[in-house]
Structures are given as structure tokens and as C-alpha cells.
Symmetry: C2
DNA sequence: CTGTTAGCGCATTCAC
DNA sequence: GTGAATGCGCTAACAG
């Protein structure tokens, strides 16, 4: 069966290009992969043939033969949550630029699905993976990472060294938020954290306390409470309790924007005006921040950047095998809007 | 080089399984693909070997040889937008159940990227694709669809017949929203649409007008205005203009939730209370709807269902080649919250 | 029912 | 510098 040089029927293959250019497929492969050992004219001829036939390499074949699949797995708890969506978006842009594509794996926060999915990803479909908020333990991740390039983004709990991870500078962000409040004259500054075992809680708490200490403000344990990170009655109740304190705070630093919304609702329910009676700072700079009235002062996490950084780290892992900085923290930024104001003079 | 039966080094292959089970690789392939023509004991033996070796088929090899890749492309304008995220989430769930995976292609609303991405998807990486809001013309889509199974979700403009598409029942949803307002006694009901060339605008407008007509309410052209679908000053201005009419509406049907937020802001700026002075209905039931104060009455689109439906349509396309219902409209649902109330008696 | 034989499209030694 | 040959892991006709 002679192969037709003119691609009329099916997709162009390397063979067609080779014969059109009057060279062997090996040579075509070389120029396709940017090898240096090809004569300029030969390269030229091949490229022309490639162009004429609209050829592009079949990734499956390449994967089977060479190893690389050009696909990167991304596990994500929930696709519809824009928080993760933004990280994903950053990662996807970076990958697009590298001419690689994403295999999406929504885990729904279920450990079992993570395991299944990762297992599948490893079975030749994918060159590596970006993991968001995995429920895996450090041990599992470490074992995984031994046979499969992986980087974790925004881990929920503290991970062992040796596991590549990129996250936001929680402590620094929290410090900035607290300092902002302090600079407005607030001294009784409440903090509503997330789940105590999460990094996002502990690290931000460190920043909060650090800022207070640096300003010589005595921390009041009554002004620190935990909540989950969601909007809802639970969060509002926590906020309410704090506002009902005998000596209530004049400002509250909510450890994420959802919590901040809860605080605002609780305040409204008590007839407190924001920011006049109570200043509120959030964390994340989610879409909420612009929607809410008044618009929320908050700490922006570089979510998209984290996604980009994760893939660039992963890419280096795929090549060098050895990278110097395995753990990366990206700076946050305080976004001042309308929910914070100088503390009221008379109270 | 004799292949080691015990898989100690690398990943198990079909060959290893075959020799372990004492059969040929062809037989293994058969049971792997659920072919009926295998003796029960043979099948049993093979399955045991598969289990013992922790074998699973290399998808690249299968793709190269057989055709199927087990991958479905999904183009999405912006991953971080939860509107699309929810559709994606539905699609991804359905795909997960089918043991297929998503190759994600964010297009950023750029036609050029869509073309590039689709081109790549077709080059053997993917078995078919789900397209969200493509900028492609009907002609392009039709050509595409000829050589590549594709279904469009939530098209922005009207598409030629023959192109498989799943969308929400815009008109019916709008009718329900308008009827709700009518049942509350409203007669002067404004409508703020999206871009006039979008289906979401025209179809919903039909529903709005239909409901009005059915109730014997004369439509007032002054009560219909267009906006883009985003939150922002432009939308607020449109709403403001309508509220400043000599004979303003007592209710406004915003064609999506973003616009509804704009209406609420414009109303607040005029000292109008919602829902006492003005009822507002949105469309989409986005996250906003629950956040906004008062919480928004709106028409819920079955976004996740649309995603699921799109893949199930696609699956059938991949098998039968012929499907009866190529165009599917999913029902919407009116969600009544706090932004609508009976029309004020005295005005 | 089961084994044999060919490739799928490409990357990759090796020679030349 | 370039070409011929070999195999990646699997599916798909064919035979038997």
C-alpha cells in the first residue's frame, strides 16, 4: 500500500511530510523537535512541507514512543468555586503558553477520588500534576512525588519538606491587614479565623499577632474566634458573639471574605454601621468584595499567579529533576476599599 | 530481552498480564474491552492477573491503535467565572462517571484561540468536544462538526440546525419571572436585556412580552432597555434612566443577576427601597443572588445539568452517529427570595 | 473461543 | 548530516 504524498484523505503524518520534503522520517522528527544537527536547507524544506500539509505531530504517538504526553493533570476540589477557578485559570494560561494542555480532575474534596484520579493520571496519560488542596497526607504525597512530578498549590495543612508547594504569604498578608487597622487608630481588633488546623488560619494568626505585638497592643484572647470559611449562620453567630462582648472590638479582621460577609451581616443586624461603627477587613479579594455594600477592604491573594508559578515549578521539575526552591510563597496585597475607617473618637 | 513476568521495575503491560495468565495478549485485550467472546475461566484468569499486577491500559497506546482516547475537550471562555464553572462541573461529573477525562481549553473569548485549540483537539488528542459560548459562526461550526463530534452549550447566538446544542429554556424562564411579577399586581414592569444580538436577550424578551400579552398588559417600549450583562456603571446608568422615567416601573426584570445588582444599586442611590418601592427579578441564580441584600428573586438556569446533558449527547454522538434530538432545552426554575413584593397600593 | 500478524505515528539508536 | 531499522503498548482483522 503506497502512501499518498498528497494529503487528501486523512490527517497528515510524519511520513507524508518526509516524502514531500524528500527526506526520511527521522530527519523530519529531528527538525520537529528542534534538534541542532540538521542542515539549514534540509530544515527549510521540511518546515515548508509541514506547513503545506498542515501537519502537526500526533501527541498520542509521541507519548507512546517518546514518553512526553504534553498533558498535565490538575486536581481541583470544585471547579465552580471561583477561588479555585482563578488558580486553575493561571495554571491553564501558563500551560497554554507551553503548548501543553490540562487534564482536569475535580475531586469534590474526596480523598478517594483524589487517589483514583491520581492513579489514572500517572498511568501514562499525563507528565505531571498540579494538586489543589489535596486531602492527601504528607506521607502519601511524598510517596507519590517519588514516581510522579507533582506540585501542590495552596495546601490546607502543613506539608513535609521535599514536597514542592506554592502558596500565598499568609502571615505577611495578615500583618498588613492588621497594620492597616492599627494605623487607623484601632486597638481592639478582633480576628475570626478559619478551621484551626489549616495553614490559612495559623499563619494568618501569626501575622495578626505579630502586628499587634509590634504596635505594643496587648492581645485579648476574647477577640480571637474560629469559624469555618463559609458564608452562613455559623459564621454570623461567631461574629455576633464577638460584637456582643462587654468590650467589643472596633474592628474585625475576618480571615476570608466569606467570613467578612458574615461579620457585616451580624453588624447590620445590630444596627452597627460599617465602617463608622465597625471596620472590617477580609482576605482573598474574591468577587464578593466588590459586590458587598460597603465594598470590602481585603487582602488579595495572587491566586492566578500561584497557578502560573505552580506550572513553572512543575516544568522545571520535569526537566532538571532538581530544583533549588521547592517551596514558594507569593506576596499578597492589601486592597483598601470602603469597609475600613478611622476608629470613632468618642464611643 | 525476555520480559519479566513479575512487575518489579516499570508499569505492568498487557504482555506481562498475558504471560501471567497464560494466554495471548489478544485475549487480554478482549477481556479488557469487555468483549463477549471469551471463555469464563479465561476471563477470570486474566482479570486475576490484571488485579495482581495492578495493570491498567495505557491510554496513549490505545488511542494510537484503536482510535478512542478517552479524552473530551471542553472549551470554556473563562474558567474563573463560576457561571461557566458550573457548566464545566456538570460536564466533568458526567465524564468522570464514564471514566473519561476532560482536556480543558480556556479560550478567553478569543476566536483565534478557539480555532487553534479546536485544531489541536482534533489532532488525535481528543474524541470529541463540548463547546461553551463559541465565537465561531454557524458555518465554521458546521464544517467542524462534520469531521469531529461536537456539542455546543449555551450558544450566544442562534445556530444552524444540525449543530447539536443544549441550552436553557430562556423564554419559559422569562415568562415565569414576568408572571410572578404580574401575580404580585405589578403592571408597569421594566425589562433590562443583555446585548440585543444574543439569544439570551431575544428569547427572554419573547417570554417577557408573551407573559405581558397573556395578561393583557400593554407593553411600553420605554420600559425595555439593553445593557451588557456585567455589573458596572454602564448597567447602573441604564437602570437609573428607567427609574427616572416620568412614569417609572414598579418592578424590573433584569435579564441576568449582574444587571439585577446594577438595578438594586441604582434604586438605592435614589432612595428606593427594595422590594417595597421596587421589585427586582434576576436571571441565572448566580452566587450573587444569595449575597445581595435583599436576597434576589431570580430564575435559576440548570447550568450543571446543561453540562451533563451536553456530554451525554456527545457520548451518543460518539456511538450512534445519529441522534434524534440534536437540540435540547432544559427547563429553568423561578427562585423566589426577598427582592420581590406586591405592588404598593398607594403610590 | 483463542492465537498470529500487522500496524497506529512517532522517537531513537545505530550505521553510513 | 542523514537514513534504515526497531519498538512504545495496544487494537484489530484474520486464521485456526
Amino acid at each position: 500500500m503506497a502512501n499518498t504524498d498528497t494529503n487528501h484523505g486523512k490527517r497528515a503524518t510524519i511520513r507524508g511530510v518526509a516524502s514531500a520534503a524528500g527526506v526520511s522520517i527521522a530527519t523530519v522528527s529531528r527538525v520537529l523537535n528542534g534538534r541542532p544537527d540538521v542542515a539549514p536547507d534540509t530544515r527549510e524544506a521540511v518546515l515548508r512541507a509541514v506547513r503545506e500539509q498542515g501537519f502537526s505531530t500526533n501527541r498520542n504517538a509521541r507519548a507512546l514512543s517518546g514518553g512526553r504526553t504534553g498533558l498535565i493533570g490538575v486536581t481541583i476540589p470544585r471547579v465552580e468555586a471561583s477561588y479555585f477557578g482563578v488558580i486553575l485559570s493561571g495554571a491553564s494560561e501558563a500551560l497554554y503558553e507551553q503548548d501543553m494542555r490540562i487534564v482536569l480532575c475535580p475531586t469534590l474534596h474526596q480523598h478517594e477520588r483524589e487517589v483514583t484520579l491520581l492513579d489514572r493520571l500517572m498511568r501514562g496519560t499525563t507528565d505531571g500534576a498540579v494538586l489543589m488542596l489535596p486531602e492527601e497526607s504528607s506521607a502519601e504525597l511524598k510517596a507519590l512525588q517519588r514516581e510522579f512530578p507533582v506540585v501542590v498549590v495552596d495546601p490546607r495543612v502543613s506539608l513535609d519538606e521535599g514536597i514542592p508547594v506554592v502558596s500565598a504569604a499568609h502571615a505577611a498578608g495578615a500583618r498588613a491587614a492588621t497594620e492597616h487597622l492599627l494605623s487607623l487608630g484601632h486597638r481592639r481588633i478582633g480576628a475570626i479565623t478559619g478551621p484551626p488546623e489549616w495553614i490559612a488560619s495559623t499563619d494568618r494568626l501569626d501575622g495578626y499577632r505579630g502586628a499587634l505585638a509590634a504596635a505594643g497592643v496587648m492581645p485579648d484572647p476574647a477577640l480571637v474566634a474560629a469559624s469555618d470559611f463559609r458564608v452562613g449562620p455559623a459564621t454570623e453567630a461567631v461574629a455576633a458573639a464577638m460584637l456582643d462582648l462587654p468590650d467589643p472590638p472596633t474592628a474585625i479582621f475576618a480571615f476570608n471574605d466569606n467570613v467578612a460577609v458574615g461579620v457585616m451581616r451580624a453588624a447590620r443586624a445590630r444596627g452597627l454601621s460599617i465602617p463608622d461603627d465597625l471596620s472590617v477587613v477580609g482576605f482573598d479579594d474574591s468577587e464578593l468584595a466588590e459586590i458587598v455594600v460597603p465594598r470590602l477592604t481585603t487582602v488579595r491573594q495572587p491566586l492566578a499567579e500561584m497557578g502560573r508559578m505552580a506550572v513553572s515549578l512543575l516544568m522545571r521539575l520535569l526537566e532538571n529533576q532538581r530544583v533549588d526552591a521547592l517551596r514558594i510563597e507569593l506576596a499578597t496585597k492589601l486592597i483598601v476599599r470602603e469597609s475600613t475607617a478611622p476608629v470613632a473618637v468618642a464611643r
